[in-house]
């Protein structure tokens, strides 16, 4: 049978040929990026984060000294042209330690959040997808975990496991996991009742495929926003825990642990206090700015 080729089809083909290469592709992600790009504060946050990552990567070339270069003859020197942030109580160059600190705080906060979202995400997906009794049991367990305030929970875990980066990561990811799973569950539930999920089920998509291919990508907006803010919170928690001596221990130049001796030095060497805290604040601020922008860009209501 000869193929039908009507004038209308010919017209469509002509139009296609004319627009070839000129049509701008559009997707929700692209639209969101367009909106995000217009948000100056969010871009500022992103730029700061990129700079921090670059500092972390090139730290050995930027820092004049190593992280634990103790020279006791130059203890507690105020900032000078030689040591622009001064030296600490062991005569270590604070600037070098600050630079190397970019390799600790941000990545550790990121890892904690990734683990919390991965664990919470699996549980939340099962809960939201199965619904009913499974959902009820999983979420009630989360309720119990959430009945211990997160920082307290993290302190409890870190105290019983002992110090160290691995234990700290475990403590923070476990203690924040319930709250994160709640966000993911809510996001999946909002897309679950959409028609395209129904149609995916109708054409026989397996439950894993429905979840991974249709539900999660469409629920990604609020999850991404929550992720950004969670990294910010995790960095604050990492530094608080290290400050009270339950996290990353010296000589690792974690910014919070660099401050742990500064209370005793308030009267004699207050300059040891300024820079580590400032770095934590800048990192968290950048994440919050970016998160705000992301939320506005991904939330279709605020166009």
């Amino acid at each position: 049978m000869a193929k039908l080729y009507t004038p209308a089809m010919a017209a469509i083909d002509k139009k296609k040929a004319r627009l070839k290469g000129k049509v701008q592709k559009s997707s929700p992600g692209r639209e969101a990026w367009k909106r995000l790009r217009r948000n100056k504060l969010a871009i500022a946050g992103l730029v700061i984060l990129i700079i921090l990552v670059l500092i972390a990567v090139f730290a050995p070339f930027i820092a004049p000294e190593g992280i634990d270069n103790q020279v006791l003859t130059r203890r507690l020197q105020p900032p000078s042209s030689e040591h622009i942030m001064g030296t600490d109580e062991f005569g270590r160059d604070i600037f070098s330690r600050i630079i190397y600190g970019t390799q600790i705080s941000f990545p550790v906060g990121l890892i904690c959040t990734v683990i919390a979202f991965a664990l919470g995400g699996v549980l939340a997906s099962i809960a939201a997808f199965k619904g009913g009794r499974v959902d009820n049991v999983i979420m009630r367990f989360m309720d119990i975990f959430q009945s211990i305030p997160p920082l307290l929970f993290a302190i409890a875990i870190a105290a019983s496991l002992g110090n160290g980066i691995v234990n700290l990561v475990l403590a923070i990811s476990l203690s924040t996991m319930p709250a994160r799973s709640r966000v993911i569950r809510a996001a999946i539930l909002t897309v679950k009742s959409n028609d395209y999920i129904e149609s995916a089920r109708a054409i026989g998509a397996s439950s894993t495929r429905q979840l991974l291919k249709y539900m999660l990508p469409n629920a990604m907006g609020p999850i991404l926003t929550a992720f950004t803010f969670s990294v910010a919170t995790a960095i604050l928690t990492v530094s608080s825990m290290s400050y009270i001596g339950l996290g990353i221990t010296p000589p690792t130049p974690e910014w919070g642990s660099m401050l742990s001796s500064s209370k005793a030095l308030l009267r004699t060497a207050p300059y040891t206090l300024y820079f580590p805290g400032l770095m934590i604040m800048i990192t968290v601020l950048a994440l919050n700015l970016f998160g705000d922008g992301l939320r506005d860009a991904l939330d279709p209501r605020l166009k």
Binding site: I144, P149, A156, S160, G162, S262, K263, R267, I280, V284
Partner: protein, 323 residues
């Protein structure tokens, strides 16, 4: 409504058992032998074994857990502190009021300082005062609490000598700890108030109120704020939890004899009963606060109330049909 309250109260039971379970698991995975801590590393094997028997450490794990739960639930016995040999319960209950007061004071102060700021920001959107207060709020949510505490200590206690550096024996002593615990919440509250106020102001009922010729202040406070505060009130319970965590750090920086300081001291001296007792007590206190908050919220939010009323009526209707 009564059904909700009863359900919510009964829910406390599994929560408490869950908390005990978590704390117990943590104590099992803790490396190090409590016996060595108690009798000393160079004690004889017999003395160690006797202590082991006395603590019940030779029983299987599930027996230990059962004993542990029964002891706490029936007698409220959290064990004795390794360092002071006093009952942990009394030691913690002595210190608890201070922690609770610090936490609640900081939440209240944060609310009082930041909600008005959020309202002004929303009403005068994009004005200089909006920009300033949003910049401050952003810093508030981004600044590490303990660093804020150290900076304020340096400024007000060391340099200006206006406020004491430690202790809360005088009213002045409360200022810095309360601000430190509340700094993040203030930023958070101001931002949330502004966002939800902006959303509310665009609603039709605000336009209606204005069209009726209401005074602008009445429109904002009575029609706007009451609706805008719902997301904040709904979240106050969680904020109390975060503040309890903040209080632990504040007590250590400002040397306040509360549960937080007690716990961190106990962690440093490996006094596990004290650590566990602190966590259990704070978790239970937090659950009770959440319970009160949920009940208050249910009482305030007309939507939740009507939902329960509607459900009750539906059930009554069904019963009638059956009859």
């Amino acid at each position: 409504m009564l059904r909700y309250i009863v359900k919510r109260l009964l829910w406390m039971i599994p929560v408490v058992i869950g908390v005990l379970c978590i704390v117990f698991v943590l104590s099992v995975v803790t490396p190090g032998d409590p016996v060595t801590t108690l009798v000393g590393a160079d004690a004889s094997a017999e003395a160690k074994e006797a202590m082991r028997e006395k603590l019940g450490l030779n029983d299987p794990v599930y027996v230990r857990f059962a004993n542990y739960v029964i002891k706490i639930v029936t007698k409220g016995d959290l064990g004795n502190s390794y360092t002071s040999n006093q009952p942990v319960k009394t030691e913690i209950l002595d210190r608890f009021p201070v922690t609770l007061k610090l936490t609640i004071a900081s939440v209240i102060v944060a609310l009082l300082l930041s909600v008005p700021l959020g309202i002004i920001s929303a009403v005068k959107r994009y004005s200089w005062i909006d920009n300033l207060s949003m910049a401050l709020s952003l810093i508030g949510v981004s600044i590490p609490q303990f660093w804020f505490a150290l900076l304020t200590l340096l400024l007000f206690a060391v340099n200006l000598r206006w406020l004491p550096a430690s202790g809360i024996s005088s009213v002045k002593g409360w200022v810095l700890p309360v601000l430190m615990i509340g700094v993040g919440n203030m930023g958070n509250f101001a931002r949330t108030t502004r966002a939800s106020m902006l959303e509310v102001i665009q609603q039709d009922y605000i336009r209606t109120a204005r069209a009726k010729g209401q005074k602008e202040a009445t429109v904002i406070i009575k029609h706007g704020l009451r609706n805008a505060l719902i997301p904040i009130v709904a979240n106050v319970g969680n904020v109390v939890g975060i503040s309890l965590g903040g209080a632990v750090i504040a007590e250590n920086i400002f040397s306040v004899a509360g549960v937080g300081k007690y716990m961190l001291d106990a962690i440093n001296s490996r006094d596990w009963p004290a650590v566990q007792g602190g966590i259990i007590l704070l978790a239970i206190a937090f659950s009770i606060i959440m319970l009160i908050m949920d009940l208050l919220y249910a009482a305030i939010d007309p939507r939740l109330k009507s939902e329960f009323r509607a459900r009750g009526r539906k059930k009554a209707g069904r019963k009638l049909q059956v009859a």
